[in-house]
């Protein structure tokens, strides 16, 4: 292969031959991308279009025609006159052998593996035709790290594709994971082999999402939920986060972007929950409390900006990486925690139940919510957590499948006696709560309420704030509210948030910043279903479709501003008193503290 160092500007197109087919393609693209455009999906493993190039797995090899050389198609850009074969016998054998080499150092426990059937390695081994083991030998053995309440690391299943390392560094800017040791016994772990919770891990779960195998998984809570459901002494209720209705269908083969609110509610009810509540209610409540914080700060002239606090991964990041910003963060508990608090107080009282009898399960798109639920700040005075168990979307899907609920075949789950609407009072929600599940949603919801509160008499109150929607990582905007101009910003993916904080440190003024740890917000959460065929984790198209379902829910709601919720009005009237009042403050707000990993600070 000759490498040309031509200084002249590249031609817009080049002619190349792929498998004998002459093509004129855009210059600057890789062989893998070009092949995809003509319908050849070259097998790949470490490659991820939204992460940096690794070129490590070597599965995507193609043959340079005439030379017999193999090149990694993900790493090589097309050049004029290039001719490659994607399926020569030699390439097919090489790919098969490479995947076999990965399998040879991988536990062969597919049948009992959490990712069975949804594993990229399994899929590759099958599609590339690994039917016998030619090179099997010794395997690596590392201890399982299940000490975290959120993320389980099983290095024996790791195939060292490095996606987790890259997502942790490049998307989240956390740099918690790295490769240690070398060669055959290379290990991905936090520095010095520390447990995940002892490290700078923020529990966002993006490593779980991008992992092609089961080397990273959420810590499963399904057993505890089954046990609670089977316990007649327990009053088991479930709350469902805004983003779940937009993604749960994917777990059963439905296309992304469908709203499954009713099917989901009915299915969960079938599972045996005494009541199915909507976390949107907590989201509406968050909006009311948070917009009040904003208004108070606007009246007091600061401090700015107000940082949203719904995303527990972001809160961990705040405490570990940006503790100097803690005074700026909203003290509102997350919607999940607000809902759980009310379930163990107001709801328990109204039902005449001992709070300890109530077992609160939260279905969340999020791995970090497991960490949040376990935090001491979110416990009853006696020490019991407000949220007893957090299930990721994936775990909830698995439970429904495990139960045998025929989610796919039935157009609507209609179990005659089961109603498919959320239970009251936590079922009466507005569109503002619904859009919490996507990037920009929290900000828009807060702006809707703040706009209404700040509007002068006779002024037209804006409802939709499109300038903060579909944020691709980072967006700044100016919003006119009641004669003021607010400078707001949205960041998803903490690397993007860190960029905003750099701006802050440089003296730039913002009034309100929404931060979501996961790309795309909760629809891209670390606990969401593995992407359907043809899509990938972090896929902007997938995130767009999922968000679309939430905006559809929003549009369908009779009330779209949080403070207009009749449920909330009842809550304040019957129980909390004034928004921002003393009981509201005790129950709905929390505090943060700098939190270095052990040995730091």
């Amino acid at each position: 292969m000759s490498t040309t160092h031509d200084a002249s500007p590249p031609a817009p197109t080049v002619r190349i031959t792929i498998d004998g087919q002459l093509l004129e393609v855009e210059a600057g693209k890789t062989v893998l991308e070009v092949a995809e455009q003509v319908g050849i999906r070259i097998p790949r493993l470490c490659y991820h279009p939204d992460l940096s190039l690794a070129g490590a797995c070597r599965v995507c090899l193609v043959e340079l025609e005439g030379t017999g050389q193999f090149i990694a198609s993900c790493a090589n850009k097309v050049w004029e006159g290039m001719a490659v074969r994607t399926n020569s016998p030699e390439i097919r054998q090489a790919r098969r052998d490479i995947v076999e080499l990965l399998l040879d150092n991988h536990p062969l426990d597919c049948q009992t593996c959490e990712r069975s059937g949804r594993c990229e390695l399994q899929e590759l081994a099958y599609s590339l035709g690994v039917r016998e083991r030619l090179f099997a030998g010794a395997r690596k053995h590392f201890p399982l790290d299940a000490r975290s309440v959120s993320v389980v690391r099983e290095p024996d299943k790791c195939i060292l594709c490095g996606r987790c390392v890259r997502v942790c560094a490049e998307v989240q800017g956390v740099n918690n994971l790295g490769q240690h040791g070398r060669g055959f016994s290379t290990l991905v772990s936090p520095a010095h082999g520390r447990a995940m919770d002892d490290s700078v891990c923020i529990q966002c779960g993006q490593c779980v999402a991008v992992c092609p195998t089961a080397a990273f998984l959420e810590k499963s809570d399904t057993d505890r939920v089954w046990a609670a459901l089977a316990d007649p002494a327990k009053h088991v209720v479930v709350q469902v986060a805004p983003a779940i209705r937009a993604t749960i269908g994917e777990g059963f083969g439905h296309a992304p972007g469908e709203d499954h609110t009713h099917k989901m509610v009915a299915a969960l009810r079938r599972l045996g929950f005494a009541a199915v509540f909507d976390t949107d209610f907590g989201a509406d409540l968050t909006v009311v409390e948070e917009s009040l914080e904003l208004i108070r700060r606007l009246e007091a002239g600061g401090p700015f900006p107000l940082l949203t606090s719904c995303s527990p991964g972001w809160i961990s990041y705040l405490e570990k990486f940006a503790p100097e910003l803690i005074p700026l963060a909203s003290t509102c508990r997350s919607p999940m925690s607000m809902t759980s608090v009310l379930l163990k107080t107001w709801y328990a009282q109204s039902k005449g139940l001992d709070p300890r009898q109530v077992f609160v399960v939260a279905v969340m798109p999020c791995v970090a919510k497991k960490f949040e639920a376990a935090r001491p700040e979110h416990r009853l005075p006696e020490g019991d957590p407000y949220t007893d168990a957090v299930l990721t979307t994936r775990e909830a899907i698995w439970m429904l499948k495990s139960y045998g609920i025929d989610y796919w075949n039935l157009p609507l789950l209609d179990f005659s006696t089961l109603q498919d609407d959320f239970d009251s009072p936590f079922g009466e929600t507005t569109g503002a709560g619904a859009i919490f599940g996507t990037t920009g949603g929290v900000l828009e919801a807060a702006l809707r309420t703040a706009a209404a509160k700040l509007a002068g008499p006779g002024e037209e109150v804006p409802l939709e704030f499109h300038q903060v929607r579909a944020v691709d990582g980072l967006r700044e905007a100016e919003v006119a509210l009641g004669g003021r101009t607010l400078r707001v910003a949205v960041a998803n993916g903490l690397r993007n948030a860190a960029r905003l904080f750099d701006e802050l440190a440089a003296g730039k003024v913002y009034h309100l910043i929404e931060v979501m740890a996961c790309p795309g917000g909760c629809v891209g959460g670390g606990g969401q279903p593995y992407p359907p065929p043809g899509m990938h984790v972090l896929d902007p198209e997938l995130l767009r479709l999922r968000a679309g379902a939430l905006y559809q829910v929003d549009r369908g709601k009779p009330r779209r501003r949080a403070h207009e919720s009749p449920g909330l009005r009842r809550l304040y009237d019957e129980f909390l008193g004034e928004p921002g009042g003393s009981l509201a403050h005790t129950l709905l707000h929390t505090s943060y503290a700098p939190r270095g990993p052990r040995g730091i600070r």
Partner: protein, 739 residues
């Protein structure tokens, strides 16, 4: 008008000269002691100490100690030279405190050299010490240039004639010696074959002789009359003159062309003054800076056909031009001194013996590509090299040869040291860059090449130590001279670390294109003990085994590649009939497996599986199709790995499968090791007809698996035997068969 840069350089030289004059005033005798990691390990520090004590005790002020780097003559270290004015230098080998005492008392005080301690005067096979004699050493040496070009023409005739003249004059060889040395690099293209260059030692004069008549004229003047003959003398000095001057009489050295190693073992590596005065130090740099033409540097290197000595053989001029062309700034120069091949120590020897040459090469590189900063990446296992580089950098900085406005030229450049932490893969350029950046030392996909996006994503040139060491010589002596030294595609010399089953081990620097035979048989002295040469392993753990049949292959990048091996950084291990090639392949595969960084699948997993198969084979547990399996994996790893380490790791296996297939098959199918090396495949049996029942074997067997009554033939229990071979060693009747 004098160019200010040249003037600044001249001032440095003048100052150095003045310092030397005052420092060495009154000293006439010099004791040269090698000082490098290897020399020190062999005891050079104790020797140095002993000489110092003797000088102090005798109160002699005319004797001074001269510390020099190492010559790469490993098995004979520590080496000590005694230089007395007007006499040929005398070198001693394997000097210890006792020998130092003898050298001091007998030679320096008594005037009689210690013949029995002379360097390389004792055959390697000799086990008894040489007799002590009081005969004087030769006083005059006529050293003919023995380059192939000189040999083509009338050179050999003139040399023979010279021997004849000595005979006719009745001068014994013990007084005047005729010797040959490798290419002096003095003849212009048009003179090739028409003459020969002759060096007269210790007078230090070079003659160009084109006829027998001229030879006789020189002979009469120099040998008979002891005077110079200015008419035929030439002013040019041979490259590596200092080296030839010191070591030209030693067979191991005088067939070598010391270019990169020209100052190693000659100059004090810690003295900038010596480099300036005796090593043409910074002359090339001053000339280049005086001309203010960076492009010219690149043109010269390209014309010299200097190719990267780290193993890849990429044309250095091309690489520098690539980096120069890049618009981005800053740019960086990196020196790859992460020498990691087992048994390779060329870079260490150069850094410990001549750090200034490498530094000068790097400054020239910085000037050529437009860099202001560079880094030495040295493995931390080389503490002495690190110390010497550090000292050299400070000295150069103090002298205005590094830092802002070098020699008043307006060009600013500085160097720093970064230490490698022991990973072999960090010798790979992109891994090295990651390591300097503080990242995990793992390679990345190329392109982009470092010249485009290297250290901190800036244009970066990475060259090996030896490449940089060559740069000042190329610029000083010209592209044509350097190119002539080598082959049409590759100019200059290459340093090899010769090891294994060969009489003389150590560093060998020969012109590119020298045959393996010359290196191994002539310089290395062939295989000792009358054993047959089996193969030569070149290029370190990523190289291949070249069978003895290819002994006449010229050593250069392309020829070795064609044979399925590589030049690598210059490892050369000689294997004889007692070596099992399968076991050698297993050894190198174990190294590659251990040093695989773990990034790409084929190298990480494939080398492990290949090693498992090789271990099965040497353990006698091979499956019938293991060779096919091994070959399939080897090609996979070679063709699909990410970096050079993985792509080359299968070479030892593939070359063994190619050239020594029968040996491999004997292991697999017959469970037999033809070289009788693989322990698990050996069986020990007593030959009853020969066994006299002396019981020696039974008594010495560590596992007591030999039984038999005294005076009766004994029997070995094969199930209990651990195949240690002790019985064979102790049997005085050759009654135990190993097969």
């Amino acid at each position: 008008m004098e160019n200010p840069v040249r003037a600044a350089h001249a001032a440095l030289v003048a100052a150095a000269s003045a310092r030397r004059a005052s420092r060495e005033a009154g000293t006439t005798v010099r004791i040269q002691v090698g000082s490098a990691t290897c020399e020190n390990a062999a005891g050079a520090e104790a020797v140095l100490d002993e000489f110092l004590k003797h000088i102090r005790a005798t109160g002699r002020t005319d004797i001074r100690i001269h510390r020099v780097g190492c010559t790469g003559r490993c098995s004979r270290e520590p080496i000590v030279g005694v230089l007395r004015p007007g006499e040929l230098p005398v070198k001693y080998e394997q000097v210890d405190r006792d020998r130092a005492h003898r050298i001091f008392t007998e030679h320096l005080l008594g005037g009689t050299p210690c013949h029995d301690l002379l360097l390389d005067h004792r055959p390697a096979s000799a086990t008894t010490p040489l007799p002590r004699t009081a005969a004087p050493l030769p006083q005059l040496e006529l050293v003919f240039c023995a380059a192939p070009r000189c040999q083509e023409g009338i050179g050999p005739q003139l040399r023979d004639r010279c021997v004849q003249l000595l005979g006719e004059a009745g001068i014994p060889e013990s007084r005047v010696r005729v010797a040959e040395a490798s290419c002096y690099g003095l003849c212009a293209e048009e003179e090739v074959g028409r003459g020969v260059h002759l060096l007269i030692r210790p007078a230090h004069r070079v003659y160009r002789i084109t006829s027998a008549a001229e030879l006789e004229e020189v002979f009469r003047a120099e040998v008979l009359a002891g005077v110079a003959l200015p008419r035929l003398a030439v002013d040019e000095r041979p490259v590596g003159e200092g080296f030839v001057e010191l070591y030209g009489d030693v067979a191991f050295f005088n067939r070598q062309s010391r270019v990169a190693l020209r100052n190693s073992g000659v100059l004090d590596p810690e003295s900038l003054d010596e480099y300036l005065l005796d090593g043409e130090g910074f002359v090339a740099l001053a000339e280049v800076l005086a001309h203010q033409d960076p492009e010219a540097v690149i043109r010269t290197l390209a014309a010299a056909k200097l190719r990267g000595r780290g193993g890849g053989g990429y044309p250095t001029g091309q690489k520098w031009a690539d980096a120069r062309r890049q618009p981005g700034t800053p740019k960086y120069i990196l020196c790859n001194a992460d020498e990691g091949d087992p048994g390779a120590f060329m870079d260490r020897s150069m850094l410990e013996g001549d750090p200034f040459s490498v530094i000068e090469g790097m400054i020239l590189g910085g000037y050529a590509i437009g860099a202001a900063r560079g880094f030495f990446y040295v493995r931390a296992e080389y503490p002495l090299a690190i110390r010497r580089i550090d000292g050299a950098l400070r000295a150069a900085r103090d002298a205005g040869l590094l830092g802002p406005d070098i020699l008043g030229s307006g060009f600013s450049f500085d160097l720093e040291i970064r230490l490698g932490a022991g990973a072999f893969v960090c010798g790979e350029e992109t891994a090295l860059i990651h390591s300097i950046e503080g990242q995990r030392g793992q390679p990345r996909v190329r392109p982009p090449y470092p010249t485009e996006s290297g250290l901190w994503s800036q244009p970066t040139v990475i060259n090996n130590v030896e490449t940089f060491a060559n740069v000042p010589v190329v610029l000083r002596h010209g592209a044509a001279w350097f190119a002539r030294l080598g082959t049409p595609k590759s100019g200059g010399t290459k340093v090899f670390a010769l090891a294994g089953k060969v009489r003389h081990t150590g560093l060998v620097e020969v012109p590119m294109g020298t045959t393996l035979r010359e290196v191994v048989m002539e310089i290395g002295g062939g295989v000792p003990g009358g054993r047959a040469l089996k193969a030569i392993q070149t290029g370190g753990p990523a190289g291949g085994c070249i069978p003895a049949a290819y002994l006449d292959t010229p050593v250069d990048f392309d020829s070795l590649l064609q044979l399925g091996s590589i030049m690598g950084s210059g490892g050369m291990i000689v294997l004889d009939e007692d070596d099992c090639l399968v076991d050698i392949a297993r050894y190198f595969m174990a190294f590659s497996r251990d040093e695989s960084c773990g990034k790409c699948t084929p190298c990480r997993e494939g080398t492990t599986r290949m090693l498992e198969i090789l271990e099965r084979i040497v353990a006698g547990e091979a499956r019938p199709d293991d060779l096919e399996r091994l070959e399939r994996l080897a090609w996979l790893v070679k063709k699909s790995s990410l970096c050079g380490l993985g792509r080359a790791a299968p070479n030892p296996v593939l070359s063994t499968l190619k050239y020594f297939r029968a040996e491999c098959e004997a292991h697999v199918h017959e469970k037999r090791c033809p070289a009788r090396r693989c322990k698990a495949l050996l069986t020990y049996t007593v030959i009853p007809d020969r066994c006299v029942g002396c019981t020696a074997c039974a008594r010495n067997c560590p596992v007591h698996c030999i039984s038999g009554r005294p005076k009766q033939p004994h029997v070995i229990d094969p199930a209990a035997c651990i195949r240690c071979g002790r019985c064979v060693e102790v049997c005085r009747f050759d009654a135990i068969a190993r097969g």
